[in-house]
Subunit: 480 residues, 2 copies
Amino acid sequence: MEKFFDPKSVVVIGASNSSLNLGATICNMLKDYLHYTWPVYVVNSKAETVNGCPGFSSVLDLPETPDLAIIIVAARHVPGIVKDCAKKGIKRIVIESAGFAEGGQVGEAMQREIDEVIKTNGIRIMGPNCLGTLSTRNKFCSFYGVNPSLVEMNQIFEAPGNISYTIQSGGVAVLVMESLYYDLVGINKVVSIGNKCDVDEADFIDYFQKDETQVIGMYLENVADGRKLMEAAKRSRKPILMFKVGRTREGAMAAISHTAGMANNDLIFDSACKQAGIIRLKSINELHSLPKMFTEMPLLKGNRVAMFTNSGAFGSIAADLLVEADLRMVPLSGQTQDKLKKAGQVFNVKNPVDIGPAPPQTYLDIFEILLSADEVDGLLPLLSVWQTFVIDTLHELLKMCKHYDKPAAIYTPNAVAKSIAIRAKHRIPIFETPEEAVRALSVSHMFHESLLKRGFVYDQVECEIMDDNRTITGKMEAAL
Amino acid sequence: MEKFFDPKSVVVIGASNSSLNLGATICNMLKDYLHYTWPVYVVNSKAETVNGCPGFSSVLDLPETPDLAIIIVAARHVPGIVKDCAKKGIKRIVIESAGFAEGGQVGEAMQREIDEVIKTNGIRIMGPNCLGTLSTRNKFCSFYGVNPSLVEMNQIFEAPGNISYTIQSGGVAVLVMESLYYDLVGINKVVSIGNKCDVDEADFIDYFQKDETQVIGMYLENVADGRKLMEAAKRSRKPILMFKVGRTREGAMAAISHTAGMANNDLIFDSACKQAGIIRLKSINELHSLPKMFTEMPLLKGNRVAMFTNSGAFGSIAADLLVEADLRMVPLSGQTQDKLKKAGQVFNVKNPVDIGPAPPQTYLDIFEILLSADEVDGLLPLLSVWQTFVIDTLHELLKMCKHYDKPAAIYTPNAVAKSIAIRAKHRIPIFETPEEAVRALSVSHMFHESLLKRGFVYDQVECEIMDDNRTITGKMEAAL
């Protein structure tokens, strides 16, 4: 697999200097933007050089055998080219061309022809009808048509992170990457798998166990091999967040025209996911909004949640959501309520804790009282940023959560555009709606439960936490 | 009611020059920011002038009887002040002070005392525990604590619109106003009704029938008088979008501590809403995201929806959502499919219509073909803004929707922050997620159905539509 993400030589088959050539955009990205230092060759009918990448009229003429071939030509030429790659000894191929199984019988026949070649030659293929791979740490990307002048793309490579995605659609991959630019978490790897005639989503679950990945995100239009997928998921020590289309007949039909998906029975699939510990997402946006709950916060190890708000209505709104998500509005103990009374400015010392205009120290005291309470497993702060000090207290809250090994899902009842701006500027994991914050607690708890159910020994390990100025010691959960 | 929104003289009881005085913020807003030209008096213990508003030690000393009294003093003083107002002949009072029924037995007793006075003197009261009213066209606002330097507040008054809100929480009112700043639609009036010991949500449904209101938004923590509310809703020719907390026991309990709400049985309430044509919202954000579907688009008069995407995956994603929302992925007729084939660049001429890279004219042709098709009631465009011309075609789409009297709920599969920016800059009614766009079609259809069910004669009337450069004639629906 590694050669798909970190090839030491590449050939782009179909890159040329004609206008609007998609293959050329891959060369441009690698050379001009990512400063990829390994050889990039191109193959086109004129054997012309593209942006400094030496051109050849056939793969067979290349001076060496590249680690990876990227094919982006009209579908009818692909089977012949795959055969040439096999002859040349190329073992990893990304087929980006569309027009195979999603385009009717002729396409299906071509796809079968390719299958034959790769099986007899030990080749692994991604696609067809895909974008291939992106690896932030290796500064490699095979996506065509990406405009590297986009600020979003800049940040993706400049701040590698720990989320890896397997996505069966280029459009969704772009949406997710663009959205993460406005969020906290960074990307490790992205794979756009398209029609997945060979390498599929299950392969990447196993692969992502061994690298820097902390959370696996998946967008699927169909499942290649249900049993293989579920077995891989059961082995996963890392949360798998999956959005799948085709819950309805109409959605499944639309997916067939798009990536040749097969309609799978959704009820059966759903129950298999639950058993395997896969978290099914309710909206496409959860693919980029929820991972931060896993990377920035400890897991929710019980279902007892305490709320704390400076804007009364949001306590009621979130209470409904919490209960509907099968979490529990924990009744605070007499001892905890007494402590809260002493904190001052508290309108309501029962859950949801509701305060009026109060100074920063009161916020910190309440965080500490709630997180240290035995009856509380996690916190749902609903804090309107009515003065900038609220942001400072949230920074402190992040440290306290690590110290007490309990999570907080933060919602700021402000306009979404404002909350996004605060999140980006101050690097605080803020969720955009109360629904999203409650959902984050819910998936955190689900994952913890599934780790236990799947028999992973779960423990807290002492570790070092990097603070702005110093290294402090804290606890982190780990599935051993 | 009019005097609550457009008083020609006001007294703010409790405004003083002491630091952090909330009453003074009301005076400052009226004088410095809204340039309110009618008399503003204040009442405080020192009879001191506040920001040029003449001060008196009692309401009884005022040189005239003001149209409206705003009371913002400690709760225990309120009953006495209400009696003074009655003596002075004041007929409209906003009680902003908290600490009544939401604060236990003493508070309840005070509230009963006030009820007595107003009944015998023909006074109407808003509150207690509220912010009162805001009217953009009258440039009047009784909200305390609002920072008029906020850009959001500026726009609210500078661009009056046609949405009116009745909101039982100051925090939610602020969230909604702040959010609309980043959206298309403007505000007509906002009422924060608090504990509603007298004037309640039903009164405002009737009142909003007669003014510039096009859509009524409501946030309720409890219902004062269920029968009165439902009767008013049945009479409403304007859509009522309502979010209510207290769906669960925990949410209802939290609401009681906040605005003295009574737990209402949610199932019964839900079925009453359906009968009365009230649209219950699923999230607090729908309060500000959905009204634009009513102000910017014709109603969805059937359930047959055609989708059009330039990013294949989103067709499948939205197909699931559409079916789950009880709308129909309409099978396009042979004639429509033939026309689409001729438009060129179309990957899939069946619903969802899916195109590759295509010029602007192809987009316009497809809009026209779909909107003019007899089998299509409305459109769901899922168009990634990959080049700026896509925005231009969406402008044309708005005109076509008016011409064909069919709506489109537009989603751009880009990062939410980007979609919000495009919406604000180009004044296009863009929804932030595919869920939101489908929901907009769904509520539009629900409202149309409920108009018919409630016996409103519904017809298209010829009207003039203002374009950028010229006045064109088109059709608009109207409940007669």
